[in-house]
């Protein structure tokens, strides 16, 4: 472990101490946001929507639509949890914290596997690749998820592969493929399309370019870069 003692900190001026302290707090925030998103991945797979769980979302944040959140959360979309699985491992993190250590913007990529059984039928094995973009805020000293939904790249039946298969988001009532394309599948893979570069990982200057917390345009920074006329 790093060899540093409290006497070493006495050598810092107050200004140097505060700079060091802010840097360390920022690094701790990156770590805590990774833990938070890991916990969210566990809850996502667990799917026991009726159980009391630690709240991970910033439900006290002004304007947070708690009613819509609870409606979404409490709507069962499968008849039984048997055979259902949603494993979306988090890789490739890019996390930027604002200078005041109050907001964290992040993106992860994920290559995951699923099992889906809607009506107690034999489950379908699914390959599920996508991204997790998000904005995180501190609420009562703890990092919470303010916004950011799974963005699908593929959700394909395992044997069919991602060229030929696209399974829509499981909803009740089931949405159409067109509607699905407008929601989580908006930027999903299609063999006859040039891929669009969304979400853009937050840049080092993310909070200078987009100082407002609610401004989500940072995710679209590279939107048209792959589109050649």
């Amino acid at each position: 472990m790093i060899d540093i003692r409290i006497e070493d900190l006495d050598l810092l001026s107050d200004e140097e101490f505060e700079e060091t302290e802010a840097l360390i707090e920022e690094e701790l925030s990156v770590w805590q946001i990774c833990n938070l998103r890991g916990q969210a991945a566990i809850f996502h797979d667990d799917q026991h929507i009726g159980e009391k769980r630690r709240e991970l979302k910033a439900v006290d944040y002004p304007g947070f639509d708690l009613e819509a959140e609870l409606r979404f959360r409490n709507t069962a979309v499968v008849d039984s949890l048997e055979g259902n699985m949603l494993i979306h491992p988090l890789t490739t993190p890019v996390i930027e914290i604002d200078p005041e250590n109050k907001t964290g913007r992040a993106t992860w990529w994920s290559l995951g596997i699923e099992g889906l059984s809607k009506y107690r039928e034999r489950p379908m094995a699914i390959i599920s690749a996508g991204m997790v973009p998000g904005v995180h805020v501190k609420q009562n000293g703890e990092w919470r998820i303010l916004s950011g939904a799974w963005q699908r790249t593929t959700k394909n039946e395992y044997h069919a592969g991602w060229i030929d298969s696209m399974v829509p988001t499981n909803t009740r009532p089931q949405i159409s493929m067109e509607e699905d394309r407008r929601r989580l599948g908006k930027y999903a893979y299609r063999k006859d399309e040039i891929r669009r570069a969304v979400p853009c990982p937050p840049g080092k200057d993310s909070f200078i370019k987009y100082p407002l917390r609610e401004d989500m345009d940072w995710l679209l920074d590279d939107l048209d870069q792959n589109t050649v006329e």
Binding site: M1, I2, I4, R5, I6, L9, D10, D14, F17, E18, T20, E21, I24, E25, E27, L28, W31, C34, N35, R37, G38, Q39, A41, I42, F43, D45, D46, Q47, H48, E51, K52, R53, R54, L81, E82, G83, N84, M85, L86, I87, P89, L90, T91, L111, I113, G115, S117, R122, P123, M124, A125, Y158, H159
Partner: protein, 223 residues
């Protein structure tokens, strides 16, 4: 003027951050050593001087103490010098908590993996995904693995996938290894299984207590 309490907090946080980095590297090295089937190197990352050092592996039971861990590696896990054998586990989704006293830590990773094994005179490609939870100890010089638990999620024929092939998720109905103690948890994916949020995410803590021992199996999702 910066007060003493603030300095102590900064020092604690610096030590915790450094530990976080060290533990990520430790687990990365351990995973590489496992993938490359390097027995002595794997062992070197465990706190072998502790009587209660342990490794629980899927449904093979808990192997406690140096002798038992060596037996587990030799008899059930490693396939050194075997042509065509391959294991490639990866660490993702890190969830790590370092105690405020920086003497212990808890960690959990989700681990996608692939493998190649010999069976019935053919070499088969497998998926092998799981979760690895661990307690860590700082021995005064470095971080070591204290208790490690590999939770199997899937182990299946690559061609068939995890729904069609569940033949390898559970051990055969043969005697358990004589040095193993009963498994604490085994719930791999199958068309009949229910996922239940285990292993659990570690939560912040001050110092390791006896009650911390089963944190990976906690079903209380409210804290």
């Amino acid at each position: 003027m910066i007060d003493q309490k603030r300095k102590e907090k900064l020092l604690t946080n610096i030590r915790k951050l450094d530990s976080y980095h060290e533990i990520q590297n430790l687990m990365g090295r351990l995973t590489a050593a496992l993938n490359f089937q390097r027995r002595e190197e794997i062992l070197s990352y465990f706190a072998l001087e502790k009587d209660d050092v342990s490794l629980e592996y899927a449904d093979e039971g808990v192997f406690e103490g140096r002798k038992a861990i060596e037996a587990l590696l030799d008899d059930l896990v490693l396939h050194p010098n075997e042509k065509g054998y391959m294991l490639d586990m990866q660490l993702t989704t890190p969830m790590i908590e370092v105690a405020d006293d920086a003497k212990t830590a808890k960690g959990l990773w989700w681990c996608p993996g692939i493998s190649s094994v010999h069976a019935n005179e053919e070499t088969k490609a497998l998926w092998c995904w799981g979760m690895t939870g661990a307690d860590f100890l700082f021995d005064g010089k470095q971080w070591k693995v204290w208790h490690l638990h590999y939770f199997r999620l899937i182990r299946c024929d690559y061609k068939k996938g995890w729904v069609e092939d569940t033949s390898m998720i559970n051990r055969l109905n043969t005697p358990l290894h004589p040095l193993s103690k009963p498994s604490t948890y085994h719930n791999p994916y199958s068309p009949l299984s229910i996922r239940e949020g285990i292993p659990a995410c570690p939560r912040p803590y001050a110092s390791y207590e006896e009650s911390d021992k089963n944190w990976m199996l906690s079903k209380d999702k409210s804290r």
